[in-house]
C-alpha cells in the first residue's frame, strides 16, 4: 500500500534554501541560468523571430481550449509533437547580386551551437519575408529554391543539396516558409555540416533573378521582417532530475 507523503508545515526558508529552490524551478522549466544573456539585455535582437515564437507560445498555451483551426495542419502537427522549438537568427548573410555574374543567390548562416542534445528534429522551417517585386510584372511566376550547402570549396562551386522549391507570383507579399528539416537533421547529427542555406530565384524561362530585386528581404530589412530558421525538436527521453 502506497503511503501519502507527510504534510509538512510551511516554515521560514533561509536565503540559501530560497536560492536552491529558485535554481530548482529553473532546472524543472529547462531554463539555463538566472542571469540574462548580455545580448538580450543591451541590444535588442531582431524582432521577427521572437514575434513568431510568441505566436507559437500562445498557440501552445491555448492548445487545450483552441481547436487549432487558425493553424495549418502541418504546423499544428509539428507543434503537437514538439517538446522544444528554437528560432535561429540569421547571423551572416552573403549576396551574389547584380554586381556579380549569374546565377544570383543569397546565403544565410545561423549560430546553431546551442542546439539541444538528446532531441530529434520533427520539423524545421526557413522563413523569409517577401515584398512585392518592383522589377517584375506582378503576375509573373518566380521559382524560389532553397539549398543546404553541404561542403564549401575554395576554388570551385560549393556542394549543394536541394531542400525545397516553391513558386510564387512576383506580386506576392508576406512570409514564405521553406522546409529545411533535412538540413536541421544534418546540423543536429554533425555540427561540421552547419554551413549555410542558399536561396535562388528563377523565372519560368530559367533566368536567374537577384533575390533582393525579387522582393526577398535579408538581415538589412526591417527588424520585424528579418529571415530566421525555426526548428521543432522532440525529446527522445524524459529528462532525469537529480535529487536536491
Amino acid at each position: 500500500v502506497a503511503s501519502c507523503p507527510q504534510q509538512h508545515s510551511p516554515r521560514r526558508l533561509s536565503g540559501r534554501e530560497k536560492r536552491e529552490m529558485q535554481r530548482e524551478i529553473l532546472a524543472l522549466l529547462g531554463l539555463p541560468g538566472r542571469s540574462a544573456p548580455a545580448g538580450a539585455r543591451h541590444s535588442p535582437p531582431p524582432s521577427a523571430a521572437p514575434l513568431f515564437m510568441l505566436d507559437l507560445y500562445r498557440a501552445m498555451a491555448s492548445q487545450d481550449e483552441d481547436d487549432g483551426t487558425s493553424w495549418a495542419p502541418q504546423r499544428r502537427r509539428a507543434l503537437d509533437g514538439a517538446d522544444t522549438v528554437m528560432s535561429f537568427v540569421n547571423v551572416v548573410e552573403l549576396d551574389r547580386d547584380i554586381f556579380y555574374q549569374k546565377p544570383y543567390w543569397k546565403e544565410f548562416r545561423f549560430d546553431l551551437t546551442q542546439i539541444p542534445t538528446g532531441e530529434s528534429v520533427t520539423a524545421a522551417e526557413f522563413r523569409i519575408y517577401k515584398m512585392q517585386s518592383v522589377t517584375r510584372h506582378i503576375n509573373q511566376t518566380l521559382h524560389v529554391s532553397i539549398y543546404e550547402i553541404v561542403q564549401d570549396h575554395p576554388n570551385r562551386e560549393s556542394e549543394l543539396l536541394l531542400l525545397d522549391l516553391q513558386d510564387f507570383l512576383a506580386g506576392t507579399e508576406g512570409w514564405l516558409a521553406f522546409d529545411v528539416a533535412a538540413a536541421s537533421n544534418h546540423w543536429l547529427l554533425n555540427r561540421k555540416y552547419n554551413l549555410a542555406l542558399r536561396l535562388y530565384v528563377e523565372t519560368d524561362a530559367g533566368q536567374s533573378i537577384d533575390p533582393g530585386l525579387a522582393g526577398l528581404l535579408g538581415r538589412h530589412g526591417p527588424r520585424s521582417k528579418q529571415p530566421f530558421v525555426v526548428t521543432f525538436f522532440r525529446a527522445s527521453q524524459s529528462p532525469a532530475r537529480l535529487p536536491r
Binding site: V1, C4, P5, L28, L29, G30, A61, S87, V89, Q114
Partner: protein, 138 residues
C-alpha cells in the same frame, strides 16, 4: 508576493513570513468540519519578482498547483475517488496504525510552456508535459 492574499490567508498561522517566502501566495483552504478537504492549491511563482523577465519572454509567472487535503471516504461522498481510494480508506479505518489514508493526488495533469532567450539571442520555446495539476482527487 504578487497576488494579494485573500481574506482567510492571515488565519493560517503556519504560512511563510512575507519577507522570506518565495514570491507567490497560497489559495484559500476551505475547512470542512475542521478538516481540509482534498483540493487543488496554488503557489504562484512570479518571474517578475525573481528578476527573470529580461530573458524569460513568457509567461510572467508560473502557477505551481499542488494537491493538499484529506481523503475522507466513504463518509464524504461528494469527493472524487477511485475504488482503490475507497478501499484503502476502509482498510485504514480497520487498521489505522498499519494502513495509511488514501492520498490526495493529481488526477489530471496538463503541459506548460516557457519562452525565453538563450545567450545567442535565439528564442527557445520549451514545452513541459504533465507539469500543471488540473484536478485533484483521492
Amino acid at each position: 508576493a504578487v497576488r494579494q492574499p485573500r481574506k482567510k490567508q492571515h488565519k493560517r498561522t503556519n504560512s511563510f513570513p512575507h519577507a522570506n517566502r518565495l514570491p507567490g501566495s497560497f489559495d484559500d483552504v476551505h475547512p470542512s468540519e475542521g478538516k481540509h478537504v482534498c483540493r487543488r492549491q496554488e503557489l504562484y511563482v512570479s518571474f517578475q519578482d525573481l528578476g527573470w523577465l529580461n530573458w524569460v519572454i513568457a509567461p510572467q509567472g508560473y502557477s505551481a498547483f499542488y494537491c493538499q487535503g484529506d481523503c475522507a471516504f466513504p463518509l464524504d461522498s461528494c469527493m472524487n475517488a477511485t475504488n482503490h481510494a475507497i478501499l484503502q480508506s476502509l482498510v485504514h479505518l480497520m487498521k489505522p496504525d498499519t494502513v495509511p489514508k488514501a492520498c490526495c493526488a493529481p488526477t489530471k495533469l496538463s503541459a506548460t510552456s516557457v519562452l525565453y532567450y538563450d545567450s545567442n539571442n535565439n528564442v527557445i520555446l520549451k514545452k513541459h508535459r504533465n507539469m500543471v495539476v488540473k484536478t485533484c482527487g483521492c
